[in-house]
């Protein structure tokens, strides 16, 4: 099957039921997308499909032919997406394992709602578990990313929504 990942076409020969997560990680070699639960409970495996956040651990890759898949590696070419910049500025990460999913969930939220309220952030981000407890800094960083987007920080070569 053919997959469009971060703007690049990949021809992969995998079982039809194989979740996108493992195609990305074990076949294509993009390991930024993480395995956390395997049942859409934790959000570590979040990627964007045509701009919408999905859980790649329960989504068969075969369902995504013709769609644009964006992983953390494709969010920006040089780590300059406003969400990434806000995360760095806000010193959000700790172990970092969940953060690929957190960043992509936040980027998808901001694409839909450029100025989200705390309640909207809670609703959009509560599917992404962080055991290190970075939630408070995540909330602040989502607001900061919103400001950066409004002030026109450039988002170069991004394949994200």
């Amino acid at each position: 099957m053919k997959l469009d990942v971060n703007g690049k076409q990949h021809e992969v020969d995998v079982p039809a039921d194989m979740p996108l997560l493992w195609v990305l990680r074990d076949v294509i070699g993009l390991t930024g997308t993480k395995f956390g639960c395997g049942m859409a409970q934790c959000g570590a495996c979040t990627v964007q499909v045509d701009g919408a956040p999905i859980r790649s651990c329960v989504t068969p890759a075969s369902a995504l032919a013709g769609k644009k898949i964006t992983t953390i590696e494709g969010l920006s070419a040089d780590v300059t997406h406003p969400v990434q910049l806000a995360w760095i500025e806000g010193d959000v990460v700790q172990c970092g394992y969940c953060q690929s999913g957190q960043v992509l969930a936040a980027a998808a939220l901001l694409a839909q709602k450029p100025k989200p309220t705390d309640a909207e952030i809670d609703a959009a981000m509560s599917g992404n578990i962080c055991r290190c407890g970075t939630y408070q800094r995540i909330r602040a960083a989502v607001h900061r990313a919103s400001e950066l987007m409004a002030s026109g920080t450039k988002k170069e070569k991004s394949h994200a929504a």
């Binding site: 395995f35 172990c95 055991r131 407890g133």
Partner: protein, 746 residues
């Protein structure tokens, strides 16, 4: 830098491993974990230029520094380097501890860089290999745990930085024919009069100079980094997918293995039928190992499907009768009997005969650590030894275990520490369980293998925080103060049967079972007191879980103390203050938290406050929780936290670790619990082992007590006080005293 290393590797005829996602050009472009590249680099430095390497050798207790020479000298394969300065001025700091979120990837290099006076923007960090020189200065093995990393290495790292600086200054002084005292350093340069030279250009000459016997460390007032809020060095890699965790390791011809492990603790494989597993496309092999049956596949999905298809007949053994209600009954019976005494003063039984006597039972369940990155370990056995890539907290123990399995010497086992996707204690097993198993599978199959645990494997896999029960009794005098205190603890010993038993189990008392109880700060003010312990055994494997014994003792002690304050009709804050010694550091934390919270001031309608203070890992933490109770739901609105950890090397990290410890503790306070039925753990994944999510996140304010007292830790001390603070707040809000975690109103 990376590209240079790779090109040199190619010149040497070595094959670099497949490149990871494109590296950055910043300080964080190089992530430890690719052993081949590392070895190539070390060889390469013999032929290009090594610059300066400062290493520590530690023969016995006496530490001495020495420099390894580059250029024409022997290859600087120093297994114990702390600082390397390359000709281009890049400063590489080797981290002997594991970065698992706690921020030492930044705060420990800050310590080196401050003394070195280098350019912080040119600092590059790598995990050190496993080697005796990287041993923990207190525990004697290379490890990360017990919230000790910062204080245990603080002086050592300052000396490493100061030694490197002294050598660079000496090289500059020699070059300019001036005295070292006439030189000064700033941001990676040495200056003297009109002279100026970068560390990179001085490094090679510095490496040829004798190491000074003593170096002067900075006065605290001259610190440029230590004590200053400093952003993390690993952020960029962690928001771009470039950070390499153990689960991300790539090797040539790597197979993924999943293991069918016993469904109940202590069960053994009777027989298995691999036919269906082997019929799954992509499954390569099925091998039996001591821990179960491993299915090896070309990718995770094949190995997972193969394991699902595998048929194993288990001999369940005695563990199959285990049930949580039965266990609680057993513990209750034990708690009625006198245990092994851990702390005692006065005649407690007599004192409990008079005054107002209060009795209560506190309990906490088994818990899994559930780090976001499921356990994993990659093993490659070669002709010259074995390479292991994993996120571990116990490098040299894992190394020794692997060596014993393979019949190798420890130094033939190269442990490459990756970033850890959370640890919380689970990646520090005295049995090296997840490393030993991976080594066994690699040995049995003859393949390069990465063992990956599913979340279900993790939740069912044992090494839990033990279930604990505390029977608390106290008598109050006429003034409301306790005249007697009896605390009987029941729970499995974490250290029994481990190499730590000799050091930390004394006279039948596992120190980690009673920590926070036997040394509770209130005991000194209570004339008759006794803390005793029962350590029942079970087939369930148990382990340190963030804050270890404090995770249960703080809940029992601070909850019960709140009950005593209520019985005495006293304010919980004043009641504690009256019992704490005047110079107690708990008091400073408590007072700061109370002041910042506005203790005693009106709260929004329906809200109530509860507090707790607890010392652990040499730090003192007070927390005040503001909650409301709606129906049977507890909502936590705000937490004010104050910590006295002595010098706060990086206040941004201290704040993050307090938030982190609180969230981890809130998950346990409000949600998480493992229960047994017919020997099987009833929970399996985050749907029935819930943890705190963002929508429930209270506002947390962290305040650091300005302190020059002894340094303590930060990774764990934020966790113990939160459960009792919330439980005490729930009582204040609802009148319901909850004594069992997770807190449930119905």
């Amino acid at each position: 830098m990376l590209r240079k290393q790779l090109s040199v590797a190619a010149n040497l005829g070595l094959t670099p491993s497949p490149p990871n996602p494109p590296p950055f050009d910043g300080a964080q472009d190089r992530l430890e974990g690719e052993g081949l590249e590392r070895r190539a680099f070390l060889k390469a430095t013999a032929t290009i230029s090594a610059g300066l390497v400062v290493a520590f050798a530690m023969p016995g207790a006496a530490r001495r520094a020495f420099a390894q020479q580059g250029g024409a000298g022997p290859a600087p394969t120093s297994p114990n380097a702390f600082v390397r300065i390359a000709p281009d001025g890049t400063v590489t700091i080797l981290l002997k501890h594991s970065e698992m979120g706690q921020g030492i990837w930044t705060s420990l290099p800050m310590v080196v860089a401050d003394e070195l006076d280098c350019d912080w923007n040119k600092v590059h960090v790598e995990h050190a290999p496993a080697a005796p020189a990287y041993a923990h200065t207190a525990f004697g093995m290379q490890m990360t745990g017990g919230s000790t990393s910062t204080w245990e290495s603080f002086t050592q790292l300052r000396q490493a930085g100061a030694t490197a600086r002294a050598l660079l200054v000496a090289a500059a002084a020699q070059k300019w024919n001036v005295q070292p005292v006439d030189c000064r350093t700033e941001k990676g340069f040495v200056f003297s009069g009109t002279h100026k030279a970068g560390y990179g250009e001085l490094a090679e000459a510095a490496a040829k100079l004798p190491i000074p016997n003593e170096v002067k460390l900075k006065d605290a007032k001259d610190f440029t980094l230590i004590g200053k809020p400093t952003r993390r060095l690993d952020s960029k890699a962690k928001v771009s997918g470039a950070a390499e965790f153990g689960i991300d390791v790539k090797r040539p011809n790597l197979l993924i293995a999943l293991v069918a492990r016993p469904p109940v603790f202590g069960a053994k494989v009777k027989s298995f039928d691999a036919a269906k597993a082997k019929a799954v496309a992509g499954v390569v092999d099925v091998v039996q190992v001591p821990s179960g049956v491993a299915v090896l596949g070309k990718h995770f999905w094949a190995a997972k499907q193969g394991r699902d298809a595998l048929v194993v007949d288990w001999d369940l053994g005695a563990g199959a009768t285990l049930s949580t209600p039965g266990l609680i009954e057993d513990y209750r019976k034990l708690a009625q009997k006198a245990g092994t005494v851990a702390k005692k003063a006065g005649n407690v039984d007599a004192a409990l005969e008079s005054g107002k006597v209060i009795e209560a039972e506190y309990g906490v369940p088994f818990l899994a650590h559930a780090p976001m990155e499921p356990l994993n370990c990659t093993v490659e056995i070669g002709t010259d030894g074995c390479d292991i890539w994993t996120g571990t907290q116990f490098q040299t123990m894992d190394q020794g275990t692997a060596a014993a399995i393979l019949g190798l010497k420890p130094d033939q086992v190269r442990v490459h520490t990756t970033f850890l996707g959370g640890g919380f204690g689970r990646r520090a097993t005295p049995s090296s369980d997840f490393v030993a198993e991976a080594v066994q599978i690699a040995k049995a199959s003859g393949k390069t293998v990465k063992v990956v645990w599913t979340r279900e494997d993790d939740i069912h896999g044992g090494y839990y925080r033990p279930m604990w029960l505390s029977r608390m009794r106290a008598a109050l005098g006429a003034d409301g103060k306790p005249t007697a205190w009896a605390h009987t603890i029941v729970g499995q010993s974490i250290l029994a049967g481990t190499p730590f038993e000799k050091m930390m189990v004394k006279d039948g008392i596992d120190a980690t079972s009673v920590e926070g109880a036997a040394d509770a700060p209130y005991l000194a003010a209570i004339p008759a007191h006794r803390v005793d312990l029962h350590s029942p055994t079970s087939p369930v494997t148990v382990l340190w879980w963030r804050s270890v014994g404090h995770s249960h003792t703080a809940f029992a002690v601070e909850g019960f103390l709140d009950e005593l304050a209520h019985a005495a009709k006293a304010d919980p804050l004043e009641y504690r203050r009256a019992l704490l010694p005047a110079d107690a550091r708990e008091r400073k934390a408590l007072d700061l938290a109370a002041d910042k919270f506005g203790w005693g001031k009106p709260l929004p309608k329906g809200h109530a406050a509860g507090l707790a203070v607890h010392a652990s890992f040499e730090s003192y933490v007070a927390q005040i929780a503001e909650v409301s109770v709606e129906g049977n739901a507890v909502k936590v609105h705000r937490i004010v936290c104050a910590i006295d950890c002595g010098l706060a090397v990086n206040p941004l990290t201290v704040e993050a670790q307090m938030q982190s410890g609180i969230v981890y503790g809130l998950s346990a306070a409000l949600h998480s619990e493992l229960t047994f039925k017919d020997g099987r753990v009833e929970q399996s994944n985050f749907h029935n082992y819930p943890v705190l999510r963002l929508a429930e996140m209270p506002k947390i304010e962290v305040h650091i007590v300005p302190s020059t007292d002894k340094m303590g830790g930060c990774g764990e001390p934020g966790t113990p006080p939160i459960a009792p603070a919330v439980a005490n707040a729930v009582f204040a809000a609802s009148g319901k005293r909850l004594r069992q975690l997770p807190l449930r109103l119905a």
